[in-house]
């Protein structure tokens, strides 16, 4: 790579796959015929694949490849069985490595991470003892597409294990043996998940035990999962770091030695041991980083700063995912969005400059015409034709009412057939098309495209799935499969005769964004939207910008928050594209994606603003406790109150002789059964600041689990190194605090010493929960869901963490879940990136599959309003009949089912069409 930000030249090497992607139809014949078996790396080497293979069944695109390191032809010059049997001539042994140069303005690094190799630690017997597996191997064992078809069996004898132990922190939090000091962040949660899934697979008798140091379930809804695993599923949690696994003589079982609650060393036998291996940057990624000249952290991850969490040390190069630091799926997805937004901020002037738009012919009006149905029956090589008698199905199709044209194709999806289909549609004046082939889920779009190019409305297509749901699943019964294919074609033709063209209404997009919340997340979102060229209305209910970040002293990396925050506030206020409304609340919202209209209220003044999207960043606040003498004794304070003293350089702090921190105040308790994520790290930073002010200060941290996830673990290690004492307590055995004249007395039971402790301190800091604002105003106005703890609910916990299920609405910051500065900023950028997908279009199309009310049939009972999950239906102001807002409707059809008089139809799937399909199913 050379060049610089804005103009990089990147040389990319593409290895040959020896299969022509355009021709491969993913039938699997090459793999079936390939004689060479090799270890399947996708199944962690527990099963075999062929040298002609697809990495996994759900791969996208689903195209095969030939692995030249194992292919017999490449090794010995003979074979080429795949080439001979491939029905679509896709195998191409002439393919060569290709290099090409890509010119680009920004680069995003998302190389992911590898896992720690536990073979490096001899004491676990990994590699020698077959029933010691890594968590990734166990993951494959549990999978239906795994080596044992999802049956929970152990590798040595393929017997169902009755007991399984998970050993946590293998290769993590272990600077000496493994060389990785950081916490891998994801292993506690995946181990619990694996234990629960294993129990579900095996039934109630399976004994599962997780050996851990600290249980780290700091993600949204993770704590509840952990509790349920213990209470409902009976997963045993044993706080102990296990160092060795030994074989049991004469059996394939394994012995695990640990120290029990009573402090005695015990040995327990398990049928299987799973090593919860940590994440680690791969050697090739380290090399890439060196080549690109970007800096790495101590743990070998890409260096970023908290205010630019996806920006590497080299200008123009961005990063996301586990190369940025160990993290789980939601956080990786958030960073992916953030990187996309950050990397394109500087490229606004060239946006769409390389975009090509297809030309579309005018649509032919077929309304009122009698159906002229064309049926295309696909052989799919031998995939369909090898089982189903395709000529018979085609001949049968000719007899069906409305069918005027029938054709058999070797591959209906191939480029040349598509071109031919376009001509046939014109010449035969076809106005409905039935394709009997594979599944609409993968190919409907392709055929719709051909219809559009032939001038037909794309909804005039119906598919009969005679491959995935017929020939492939009835290979052993060709006659029945052929009969079924006829039925499926008849059903498709019956529906095709009734389908009508659907319009995809276009709506203009107002290229303006509303951002609710002037805290860190809201401001970052506003600035980024502005950098992308869009106008922003930023609404803050308080009289000043900054939110909770105003009260924070430093980030976990030691950066001064106040300085960066002040700079951000200034740049927001100076930005001509950002209109700031302080002391303002939102009181009314109307409209839908692209065209919202909101009423803002400030005192008695109301103004209406139009906006295409909205970002909700309303934040959360610190819990003000009523326990531990808080509010009654000035020596007791919250973390933010202590931060305030750090910010103000309070001279009294350095005079303190001792201080204690109590963790989980208000978190992880029945009232608030979630982990507040930020408090453990915050306490480490604060304890270290106090130690800096007075190295002789005695500091105690009373905790339940220390959750300094990722590289934050370094702070915990540093705090221990500086002599901070950590004393564990359990829920129910909470510490007691008494006010004495010369200080505060803290009493707690120490489980390691197995006796009560009592000590005096000058200062008590409560690490209190992060609690959402309970006023649900914005959530109610925008009709977005709130969970039982008061946090906003995203569209999908893993895959869509920064947007709502309702189009055009996005979320970020602590309104979603407690999170530190860097993660709030990343999510703000992610919300922007999602929003840009709408703002960057002048107009958006709405799917034609929406519900429609036939007003003369509607009695106005409004049952549909009750069942609509998207709030898309409302009664007409005058007639009282239901009216569907197409822009909000997602086409689920729940209203159509709920309507007692079938007054609502789901376009494309209406009652008549479904009844016709049902009827046709039995009309053979």
């Amino acid at each position: 790579m050379d060049g610089e930000a804005g103009d990089f030249r990147v040389k990319v090497l593409t290895r040959p796959r020896y299969v022509d992607m355009a021709r491969c139809i993913a039938c699997g014949t090459c793999a079936e015929k390939c004689p060479k078996k090799v270890k399947d790396e996708y199944n962690a080497g527990l099963s075999t694949r062929k040298a002609a293979y697809v990495r996994y069944a759900q791969a996208v695109p689903l195209k095969y490849a030939i692995d030249p390191d194992n292919c017999i032809y490449f090794r010995k010059g003979k074979c080429r069985a795949c080439e001979k049997f491939c029905p679509s001539q896709a195998v191409d042994f002439e393919q060569r490595e290709q290099t090409r140069v890509i010119r680009t303005g920004s680069i995003i690094l998302a190389p992911g991470s590898g896992v720690f190799d536990p073979g490096k630690l001899g004491s676990y017997g990994y590699g020698q003892l077959p029933n010691v597996v890594t968590s990734l191997e166990f993951e494959r064992i549990l999978s239906a597409t795994g080596p044992f078809q999802g049956h929970l069996v152990r590798p040595s004898d393929r017997k169902t294990p009755q007991s399984i132990a998970w050993l946590q922190c293998v290769g993590s939090r272990d600077p000496h043996r493994a060389g990785n000091a950081y916490c891998s962040s994801v292993c506690c949660m995946y181990a619990i998940k694996e234990a629960v899934v294993a129990k579900e697979h095996a039934g109630g008798d399976l004994d599962t035990a997780i050996f851990y140091i600290d249980l780290r379930t700091h993600g949204k809804d993770f704590e509840r999962f952990y509790e349920t695993a213990g209470e409902k599923h009976g997963v045993r949690f044993i706080r102990n770091r296990v160092e060795t696994v030994s074989p049991v003589a004469g059996k394939d079982d394994l012995s695990v030695a640990y120290v029990n609650k009573e402090g005695r060393r015990v040995e327990e036998e398990f049928h299987m041991v799973v090593l919860s291996v940590g994440l680690e940057t791969r050697p090739e990624t380290l090399k890439l980083a060196e080549h690109l000249g970007i800096e790495l952290t101590e743990g070998g991850f890409c260096m970023t700063d908290s205010f630019h969490p996806v920006r590497s040390s080299r200008k123009g190069i961005y990063v996301c995912g586990s190369f940025q630091g160990p993290k789980d799926i939601p956080q990786s997805v958030i960073e992916a969005g953030a990187a996309a937004s950050a990397a394109t901020e500087g490229l606004v002037s060239v946006r769409h400059s390389r975009t090509k738009r297809p030309l579309q012919p005018l649509e032919i009006n077929v309304r009122g015409e009698a159906p002229r149905i064309g049926v295309f029956v696909c052989h799919c090589g031998t995939n369909i034709g090898g089982v189903i008698n395709v000529p018979q199905v085609a001949a049968y199709a000719r007899t069906l009412p409305g069918v005027t044209y029938v054709e058999e194709n070797l591959f209906t999806c191939s480029q040349d057939t598509q071109e031919k289909m376009r001509d046939v549609i014109k010449h035969e004046s076809l106005n409905r098309i039935v394709v009997a082939a594979c599944t609409p889920r993968t190919h409907e779009g392709l055929f719709q495209e051909t219809l559009i190019r032939a001038g037909l409305n794309k909804y005039l297509l119906e598919m009969a799935n005679i491959r995935n749901q017929d020939s492939w699943v009835h290979g052993n019964n060709p006659e029945a499969a052929t009969e079924k294919a006829k039925d499926l074609v008849r059903m498709a033709v019956a529906k095709a005769g009734l389908i009508t063209p659907l319009s995809e209404p276009e709506v203009a997009v107002n290229p303006k964004a509303l951002v609710l919340g002037g805290g860190l997340a809201g401001m970052v979102a506003a600035k980024s939207l502005s950098a992308h060229g869009y106008e922003v209305v930023l609404v803050e209910r308080k009289g000043l910008l900054g939110g909770q970040a105003r009260s924070l002293f430093t980030t976990w990396q030691g950066e001064d928050i106040r300085r960066s925050l002040d700079a951000l506030i200034q740049s927001v206020e100076a930005d001509p594209r950002v209109e700031v409304h302080l002391s303002t609340e939102i009181c009314r919202v109307e409209g839908f994606v692209g065209n919202f209209e909101s009423v803002l209220k400030s005192g008695d003044r109301e103004i209406t603003v139009g906006h295409g999207i909205a970002v909700i960043a309303t934040g959360a606040q610190e819990y003000k406790p009523d326990e531990y003498l808080y509010g009654n004794d000035p020596r007791v304070m919250t973390q933010l109150e202590l931060d305030r003293r750090f910010i103000d350089k309070d001279p009294s702090l350095s005079g303190l002789r001792s201080a204690a921190f109590i963790q989980c105040v208000g978190s992880r308790e029945p009232k608030r059964p979630y982990c507040s994520r930020v408090c453990c790290t915050h306490t480490m930073s604060a304890a270290l600041h106090l130690k800096e002010l007075n190295p002789d200060m005695n500091i105690y941290v009373l905790y339940r689990d220390i959750r300094t996830y990722g590289e934050r673990e370094s702070l915990y290690r540093k705090a221990r190194g500086k002599g901070v004492s950590f004393i564990r307590y359990t829920w129910g055995g909470n510490p007691q605090v008494l006010a004495q004249e010369d200080g505060l007395e803290v009493r707690v039971f120490d489980p390691i010493l197995d006796r009560p402790l009592s000590f005096g301190v000058d200062l008590l800091v409560l690490a209190t929960a992060v609690v959402p604002y309970r006023d649900e105003g914005p959530a109610k106005l925008f009709k977005v869901p709130v969970n039982e703890n008061g946090f906003l609910v995203e569209a999908h916990a893993k895959l869509a963490p920064s947007e709502f299920a309702t189009d055009g609405l996005f979320l970020c910051g602590m309104a979603h879940y407690p999170k530190p500065v860097d993660e709030s900023i990343a999510q703000a950028l992610a919300a922007v990136s999602r929003g840009l997908t709408l703002l960057s279009k002048d107009r958006i199309r709405i799917s034609g599959v929406t519900s429609r009310v036939i007003p003369e049939r509607c009695s106005g009972c409004l049952g549909c309003v009750q069942v609509c999950p998207y709030g898309a239906i409302a009664p007409h102001q005058e007639t009282g009949a239901a009216v569907v807002n197409e822009a909000l409707c997602k086409g689920c059809g729940a209203c159509a089912a709920a309507c007692p008089s079938e007054a609502i139809v789901l376009m494309g799937f209406d009652h008549r069409e479904i009844y016709a399909q049902i009827h046709a199913a039995f009309a053979g």
Binding site: N468, V473, N476, A897, H911, I914, I918
Partner: protein, 68 residues
């Protein structure tokens, strides 16, 4: 005369986003099952009303599967 064994004909209303995809995946995995199922793809299983189910039985279905 040999009596044919009873082979039920079943109407399956399958949600495009989950159960229909699962039926496709069964094909990709080449799982074999009896050929009596006739699938009607819907956009959400919520769109299936009792009328559809009754209509299926009226038309001769031996069973109805709603997958979603």
């Amino acid at each position: 005369m040999v009596e044919k064994p009873f082979e039920p004909k079943i109407i399956g209303f399958l949600c495009n986003w989950c159960a229909y995809g699962a039926a496709d995946l069964a094909g990709v995995s080449r799982l074999q099952y009896p050929a009596g199922l006739r699938v009607i793809r819907v956009m959400c299983s919520a769109t299936i009303s009792p009328h559809h189910i009754l209509k299926a039985f009226q038309s001769g279905a031996d069973g109805v599967l709603v997958g979603g």
